[in-house]
Structure formats: structure tokens, C-alpha cells
Subunit: 138 residues, 3 copies
């Protein structure tokens, strides 16, 4: 049997903050995240590989979270949730992106799986411009 955490996320709260809160409460510093549910507001990022500055889009409408997929590792010593979202809008079209602060939960059911082994730390990767895992620990 698996010791994953299956948690109901609180309505009205920030998605990333809620997930980090669960990690802090249960001492999860390394793990996998998957979730479904719905957002009342979404803030999404796309990272252009040439200009290397996130483009963001805000959806001020209700969406279904078709998929929230990502992981937990450490950044500046704190649990950091890296999450990508696939969202369904009312007309059954799909959008999504890198989850940014400002995503507001309508309902959320998350599965957080703590993973054993050496901790993973994020730091600036010059080749991509992104905060990736240090290869030292892998």
C-alpha cells in the first residue's frame, strides 16, 4: 500500500499556496503531484525558448482542471511545487500552462506522493534560463 496523500484542496484559496501548505504540513520535500478539480481563476505561463521571458495569460472564468501534473522539490530551502495545468473552458476548448501564483481553487482533489532518496534542489540553469534541478544530487 502506498502512503500518498489524497487531499481535498480548500475552495477560494491559491492553488500553489495550498499545495505548498500540504507539503509543509506533511514534511514533503520531494514528490510527485497530480490533481483534478476546478478553478475560478487561472494564471498561466508559457516559456518562449528564444526570448526566455514567461508570457502569462489570466483566465477570469471558471475552468475544469483536466490535469494538474508536477512535482515537489526544494528551492531556496523551501518546498517548491512545479505544476503544469490543462484546463477546460465552458465551450469545451482546452488551454493551459505553467501554473503561476493567482490560480484560485473552486474545488481540488490532489494526490501528493512523497518520494525517498536524496533531496532535489532547484537553481538557475544557464542553458535554459530555468530553475532546474542541480545535477549534483542525481
Amino acid at each position: 500500500m502506498n502512503d500518498s496523500l489524497l487531499v481535498r484542496l480548500p475552495q477560494g484559496e491559491d492553488l500553489l499556496a495550498a499545495l505548498v501548505g500540504v507539503c509543509l504540513e506533511h514534511n514533503v520535500t520531494k514528490g510527485q503531484v497530480s490533481l483534478i478539480g476546478a478553478l475560478s481563476r487561472a494564471v498561466l505561463g508559457y516559456y518562449p525558448q528564444d526570448t526566455r521571458e514567461y508570457v502569462t495569460r489570466t483566465l477570469a472564468e471558471g475552468t475544469e482542471i483536466l490535469s494538474g501534473l508536477g512535482n515537489v522539490s526544494l528551492k531556496d530551502g523551501q518546498p517548491c511545487v512545479h505544476l503544469h495545468l490543462t484546463l477546460l473552458t465552458r465551450d469545451f476548448t482546452v488551454t493551459g500552462g505553467h501554473a503561476l501564483p493567482g490560480c484560485v481553487l473552486f474545488a481540488g482533489e490532489a494526490c501528493i506522493t512523497p518520494i525517498e532518496g536524496p533531496r532535489l534542489h532547484r537553481s538557475h540553469d544557464p542553458a535554459t534560463g530555468l530553475p532546474l534541478w542541480d545535477l549534483t544530487g542525481m
Copy 2:
């Protein structure tokens, strides 16, 4: 090593019924679900956060299941699979939604991970109008 169930789902059967069947056969009352495959028919829901009545859409065509993500918990004492689908149609556009009865499998490969700990029960949540997990057990 992990005791997740990796199962081939039967062609021609109802997706949700097939998943519930696996849960009943293996006594899974709490778990995570992920799957890929293809459907010959899809019945999808979107839940408007204002009107709170599911809008449904039926696709009477073949689609790839890009992602099926969700969980297993109990509703009225029985295993209940809550699943969101991301689907690809022939012209490489993507749609999806809350999986409803009537999704027919062409091929399916599911991973069901039983999770330990207190059982989760769904009941009516007045704040959202949805059958969410009782907070008592969390």
C-alpha cells in the same frame, strides 16, 4: 517497489464501469488513477460554477486519451472513480471534461495506485454543489 495495478482495459466496455470493476476486484477503496488509450465514444461534462448544472458533450468519434487523471474514493459505500479526460480528435485538436457514463473504450492502459489510510467518503458539499470528500476523515 510499488503495488500499483497496471491493467489493460477491455475494448468496447464503458470506461468508468471498467475502472470501478478493477477497484471492486482488487478491493481498492482509496487510490489514484491515471490512464492513456483511446475511446470510440466520449461523454464529457463541464460544471458551470454559476448555474451548477453539468453541461455535457458527446463525441461519437474516435479519440486518443491524452490523459485520464483522477482518484478512487467511496460514494454511498461503493468505490467511485472521479476522472477527468483530455482527448485528441483526428484533426489534432484537444477537448475533454469530467468523464461521464457512456465513454466507450477502444483501448486503455490504466494505472490504479491503492492508497493507505482512512477511507474518503463523498457527500454533497453545499458550497460548490458537488459531491466532495467529507472533511471529517481528513
Copy 3:
């Protein structure tokens, strides 16, 4: 605690080859795969259920991997990764498909969960025309 592998995938390499490489290095013959990240090139398949010949589409542009979901089993005695991708393009539209050789990584964070129990072998399934798991082992 879970012994899943959380790995950074190498920039510039083929996605499927990189995942198979991790499986070979860690002796994973059966497992679940989930990943997020970004591709600099994507080669995607859609399987029409009538004509039964994969239609492919190549995206020669950067995309976010909103979801990579799939599994590891054996095909011709070697680890085989079956993976479906949901991808976000620069204009926040979403496409995806069955991952084919030729997907080039910009960044990738994968979770590979080894699963215990009898090995799963893929062989030709006449009913669908696809290489599915032998039912003998299930």
C-alpha cells in the same frame, strides 16, 4: 515512502530514448511514467480506429509539456515507454498525441514509478491493430 525516480531529462535529447535510458539504467521493466517540461520539437501520432495507420504531425516549435502520461512494459524483450503528450503552443492553444521518436527535449522532469508483479509484454492485438499487453500475464 515511495521509490519512484524523479529525474531531470537532458536538453537536446530524444524524449522517448531518454526515458528508455532511465529505465535501462534502473532496471525498470514495468512502471508508470508522468512528466512535465518543454519540447523544442514534437512528433505526434493519432491512430484512426478505422484506417488503423497512425497519422503523424510534427511541431517544429517550442511547446510546454502540460502532461506526459504513460507506462513502461516490455516489447521484444526491451523496456518500451508508451507515452501520450498534451502540449501547449505559444498562442496558448493545446495539441498533443501519441509520442513518437523525434520529440526533442528543451527541459524535462519525469517521475518513473517501478511497479512490482508479473512483467507485461506487448504483442500485436488483432482486434485493434495495436501492440497491447498480452492478457496471459494479467
